[in-house]
């Protein structure tokens, strides 16, 4: 009798523990981006088993692609990547160039591209790919607003990312952010090259990355430079004056975040 009771108690404790760990108590495995300011805000880097969204205006597509390719390069750690792309996105902002990818320091050999005809196919393929733990990351690229990418879809992606530990990166071009279960959400623009003579050589890719949502920490905005040789983000090397506003210091929004999550 007592032993049965004890075992019930133990199993209940186990369940509570599991609920807690899936939320906040247990730190998710994180990968540092390399940019000190961003890593500090993200408490050590991007969570691996989660969904991350990158938004950009239509004409900023290439910058956002570069940024998400950088994130994928950091998160995947030389494991295969699956890039799910909607057909329309290719005509609108160009196909992904393998030479361009290798110029950024990423390996085109580990990339498998899926050309989905529509958003439903893209979502299913992404969910399928996320279940395969041999992958380093899954990137889904979608052009324009879409009804299908709602809270339910995003929740599904989050759950499969959590169970397999494969990060899902959503590249949303020409779209406005909607409520989702993403761990982080970024808005990316291209940043100017450091001032200098018009004929002087330009440098590494520069991103004006704005972290607009962070489930477990504050948000901010940084100018990031992608180091093609080291394959990581960093503070811009030659930037005399900060162009972007200093990161807004907001108190940890864990409490409000929790409320929002309950509401959603």
């Amino acid at each position: 009798m007592t032993s049965a009771r004890l075992s019930t108690l133990a199993s209940l404790r186990g369940r509570i523990e599991r609920i807690e760990t899936s939320n906040e108590a247990h730190p998710l495995p994180r990968i540092a981006l390399g940019h000190a300011g961003a890593d500090a805000m993200l408490k050590g880097g991007l969570a691996k088993a989660a969904v991350h969204e990158v938004f950009a205006e239509g004409h900023q597509g290439a910058s956002a692609t570069g940024f998400i390719a950088g994130l994928a390069g950091r998160l995947a750690a030389r494991k295969p990547l699956v890039w799910v792309r909607q057909d329309f996105s290719e005509t609108e902002s160009g196909a992904l160039s393998m030479n361009g990818l290798s110029e950024l320091g990423l390996d085109p050999r580990i990339l498998v591209t899926v050309r989905a005809a529509d958003i439903d196919n893209a979502l299913r393929t992404t969910a399928d790919a996320l279940a395969c733990d041999a992958l380093g990351a899954v990137i889904m690229e979608v052009w324009g607003e879409s009804k299908q990418l709602d809270l339910v879809a995003s929740r599904k992606l989050t759950l499969s990312a959590q169970s397999s530990g494969v990060p899902a990166l959503l590249l949303r071009l020409a779209a406005t952010p909607l409520p989702s279960t993403a761990e982080t959400r970024w808005i990316v623009r291209a940043a100017h090259s450091p001032p200098g003579a018009s004929w002087s050589a330009w440098g590494a890719p520069l991103f004006d990355a704005q972290l607009v949502r962070n489930r477990h920490g504050p948000v901010g905005r940084w100018i990031m430079e992608w180091k093609c040789d080291e394959c990581l983000f960093s503070e811009p090397s030659a930037y005399p004056q900060p162009v972007a506003a200093a990161p807004a210091h907001r108190s940890d929004q864990a409490a409000t975040g929790a409320k929002q999550r309950l509401a959603s």
Binding site: S63, G100, V114, A190, H192, P205, F207
Partner: protein
Amino acid sequence: MAMCKSGEGAQVPRETAPLTRIASNDAIRPLPMGEVKKEIPSVVVIKEHNALVIHSLDDIAARSGLSTGLPLANARAICPELTVYDADEVADAKTLNDIADWCDRFTPLVALDPPYGLFLDITGCAHLFGGEHAMLQIICSALSRRGFAVSGAIAATSVCARTLTRHSSGRIIEDGAEVEAVSPLPISALGADETITKGLRRAGLKTIGDVAARARHEIAARFGAAFTTRLEHALGQGDAPISPRKPLPDYIVEKRFPEPVTTEPMIALTLQNLAKMLVQAMDKQGKGARKLEAGFFRTDGAVRTLAVETGRAVTKPEVIDRLFRERLDALSDPLDPGFGFDLIRLSAGRTEIVVQQQRDLDAHVHDNDELAALIDRIAARIGGKRVVVYLPEDTHIPERAALAAPAQHHLAAASQAAWPARAEGEPPLRPLRLFERPEPIKVPFATVPDGPPHRFTWRRATHQVVRVEGPERIAMEWWQQDGKVLTRDYFRVEDEQGLRFWIFRDGLYDSELIDEDGKPIPANWFVHGLFA
């Protein structure tokens, strides 16, 4: 010696009148016998040499004295009350193809003999249907029920069987009895050219036996070697192979149902069991399937086949089952059981020998297996051409530098591919996003003729150029292009927002951009890619 114990001329010589019209909208549908009144003859006409002539006709029309090839005007004079239909040869061919699909249930070797014949190689198949006689009966009665006029025969050679069907139906000729069977038939049964048939008749040779009695070299001298060969085949002396529509699959398993199945769970269960049987059969010879095909034979004759290809040989029934579930799930027009399927077949079209790999501590092998399995699943759902890997091409032309290849077949090659290495310490020299077709931009007159533009308009937005690098001159491959292809001068430019473009001018100013009189012509500018 392998023997083609067959030749099933399923002919439709008469009664095609209503069929040709119906065939265009449905595969195999019975004749609306009630609609056609018995008294009124009907014919199908086709345009030949600017005149409408009879293409085919029904029994009543034949009794009225009409024949194929007769002009329609003459036919109307003979028989004023005539129902006339236009011939639709495309629909006829489709109907024949559909019947051939249906015949797949008897043997995998079905060959077309246009315009209205089929050959079935039934070697080793007849006993499954209760012997040759019963099999012929089944085929003929099933097709007759659908309203086709059928004439079938079984013989050792295909030409012999076809010759027999031209005259009567239901004959089965034992090996060696061809000469006896074929000899009394008229020359026209051979189906040779009209001029040959007419020539032989004029020579007084009326039956095949008459012709066969003459020395071969006489016939060959007058009518050609092709005709004597045909004659010999018809007499059973030598055989011409038939050319089946589909290659013979390596393994076939099938399940027949006395009571047709209609429900999805039952179909899924059947596929599961068939997958197990197929794997068992392949396993005995250490093979795995690379290409699988499931055929669903409906009771009303319609056949639906679904094919699945895999990147590496499949040896597990669960994998086969899952691939087909994905495929069925993603069909744009779902599998319609109608009144039910009475036969479901699973065949392995291409197999290869599987080398058993020992799982060791090297997880890399395992990872690749999982990735290949994932690619197979995605490809089964959305199509193999939509899952691609890129292979480097040996060319300087930027839009051809990478070749998209189906991931199922080229995964190993892609992971070994040698891409041009980047220069250490350099910023990216090639754009991240590349337009397949360079997009034209509007450029106001550049200050320096060979220089970059100060601003340009692309997609109705004007960009002010702040920073430029270049030019990088890329000459086109003159040894491959036939026409004149211009050299491109590429510039990497950054606009005031920080967006980075890869633009080029098509042509060199002094040498290429001049007209015949030597006057300069304005250059075209394009944006080819976008940098991160």
